[in-house]
Amino acid sequence: MSTAQARPQAPAHPLRWYVLRLIVVAVLAVFLVQALFPFVWMAITAFKRDSDLYNPTHNPFFFNEPPTLRQFSILFHETKFSHWVVNTAWIGLLTVIITLALSVPAGYALARLRGRLGQQLAIAIFLTYLIPPTLLFLPLSQVVSWLKLQDNDWALVLTYPSLSVPFCVWLLMGFFRSLPQELEEAALVDGAGRLSAFTRVLLPLALPGLLTVVIFTLTVAVNEFIYALTFVSISDLKTVSVGVPTDLIRGDVFFWGAIMASALVVSLPVALLYNAFLDRFVEGLTAGALR
């Protein structure tokens, strides 16, 4: 790994340059190890036998006994993990649909609203993104009980979009703004209605933005913890992120092999997917500060 310390001036001090490069590589290696270690640890643990896992004389980094898929079979056959995955999936899907239905029109409208008012509305909506669920879960628990939705996954379908809509409106507003308005005006001049100009001309162009919203919202649904913990306490109805820590970790009884198997199964796809879109989210967050 060569670094860009390889500047034209480098050959002037070859030794100093190599030392510097070595230091940079070493620092980067330390960062990489700390970033990846928990994932490596999930993987090592998930494929180990219990007798290997819980033997203090064994080197925990090696497979002292042959690897096994037993932990995964425990996870899928002897726990409610597959229920939780299914619950998370359909709750996530509905959350995505509601989020799109609310934030696409709103984002488009904000992109087209001229003047101070549009700006102020956009900022007001973004500010609601800053209000954390840890502040709202108590009153919402009452709202959920007024609606008779306690221990019901629909409580999560109702509340999860509130975690995604504000940010997605903001993201989509930026996205629609970046599309040339002439395209839309050309369609309008050609006689298309505003709706068809929007669906036929703008929406296809906005597909990357919509995809970003879908990924962001799905990860919100998988990540969310406090609402799911507060509103749903029946084991069968839990989502992955509450089911695993509350049902698989019970008092002093741990199934670390199966737990790490679940962490691996959930983390990897979500992390790989979300990572690919991270730059777009950062663009959304830093919109004002980079100019």
């Binding site: 790994m1 060569s2 670094t3 860009a4 620092v27 980067l28 960062f31 990489l32 970033a35 928990p38 994932f39 999930m42 819980y54 203090p56 925990p60 980094f61 609310l102 029109p105 709103a106 904000l110 700006q119 909506i125 609601t128 800053l130 209000i131 840890t134 709202l136 108590l138 009153p139 919402l140 628990s141 009452q142 979009p161 509130s162 504000p166 309008l188 006689g191 298309a192 209605g193 505003r194 998988v222 990540n223 913890f225 406090i226 507060t230 509450v242 820590p245 670390w256 790490m260 962490a263 979500v270 992390a271 979300y274 990572n275 950062v282 830093t286 919109a287 004002g288 500060a289 980079l290």
Partner: protein, 313 residues
């Protein structure tokens, strides 16, 4: 089934849509905004108001007593040692995470701003902790900190830093529990702060740095005299969200320690959950959670200032 008429392909002429906007007082944009605004009000604005109201009432899960309690809840929690500890922990954890993350993110962003082979891969791998679901990675950390099989302790024992029969209880000793929480939060938020800082570093005009290089400015001169001052606004964004995400988080604390041992590692969010949901005292829980508001308000003001800067420039 509709007949396969080709007229759908021909745009119908709707002069009123294209030419003049109807003389309605409310522009169409507002109707498109309305559903989102109503939803946000009902699910965010209204609960926020409700939580302020709850904090001033006697409401609890069993008792529907909405009667006004004045500041009784706040007076009660301010005399509660666990609450004060939780408040201290929240502030301490946030400040510690903020300082560590800012320093590390600056180092990491400076390295990643350089071009080198495999940079894309390195960057992708470094971002994984932020991209992974927080609950799942925190569970992995809980296992790493395990009381008997902690891999950290195993390594420390192999290196003879601790004795062969020593088992530091990472999550079982108050001080170590707080340190563990800080470690996990730093691990989780560092990638996020790094990408934001990196976006700023990349936006610094190359000519400026090259001119400084020609003038003989060393690496640190360039970093402290040019790059860091220029990316101050974006570092502000990193500070803002790092503080916000740490200050209001509950998942990491709840999964790692549940506020233990002896309620020593609670933060505002986890203590509000304990009091409001587990113990059922909604009024006091709401009062505890509301102690997050001053920080949120500060963050909001900051965002507004950034936004107004954008408008005026």
């Amino acid at each position: 089934m509709a007949k396969p008429v080709s007229e759908t392909a021909v745009p119908l002429i709707r002069p009123e849509a294209a030419v003049a906007r109807p003389k309605r007082a409310i522009p169409w944009e507002f109707w498109l905004l309305l559903p989102a605004v109503i939803y946000i009000f009902l699910l965010i604005g209204f609960p926020l108001i409700l939580s302020i109201y709850y904090s001033l009432s006697h409401i609890s899960v069993g008792r529907r007593d909405f009667s006004f309690a004045g500041l009784a809840n706040f007076r009660a929690i301010l005399h509660d040692g666990i609450f004060l500890q939780a408040l201290r922990n929240t502030v301490l954890i946030t400040i510690a995470v903020l300082v560590i993350v800012l320093i590390l993110a600056t180092i990491l962003a400076t390295i990643l701003a350089a071009r080198f082979r495999g940079r894309a891969v390195v960057r992708y791998l470094l971002l994984l902790p932020w991209a992974a679901p927080v609950v799942m990675s925190t569970i992995a950390w809980k296992w790493i900190f395990d009381s008997q099989y902690s891999v950290i302790n195993w390594v420390l024992r192999q290196l003879h830093i601790i004795g062969p029969y020593e088992f530091p209880q990472w999550l079982g000793v108050p001080k170590l529990a707080i340190i563990s929480i800080i470690m996990v939060q730093v691990w989780r938020i560092l990638p996020f702060a790094t990408v934001i800082t990196l976006a700023g570093v990349n936006a610094v005009p190359k000519e400026l740095l090259e001119a400084a290089l020609v003038d003989g400015a060393g690496f640190f001169t360039r970093l402290f005299q040019i790059t860091l001052p220029m990316i101050r606004p974006i570092i502000g964004v990193a500070v803002l969200f790092t503080a916000l995400f740490t200050f209001t988080d509950m998942a990491v604390v709840w999964i790692l320690t549940r506020g233990g041992p002896y309620n020593s590692s609670h933060v505002l969010a986890s203590w509000a959950f304990q009091v409001g949901i587990v113990a059922g005292d909604l009024a006091q829980g709401a009062a505890i959670a509301l102690f997050m508001l001053p920080v949120l308000a500060a963050v909001a003001v900051w965002v507004l200032r950034l936004a107004s800067r954008e408008v005026t420039e």
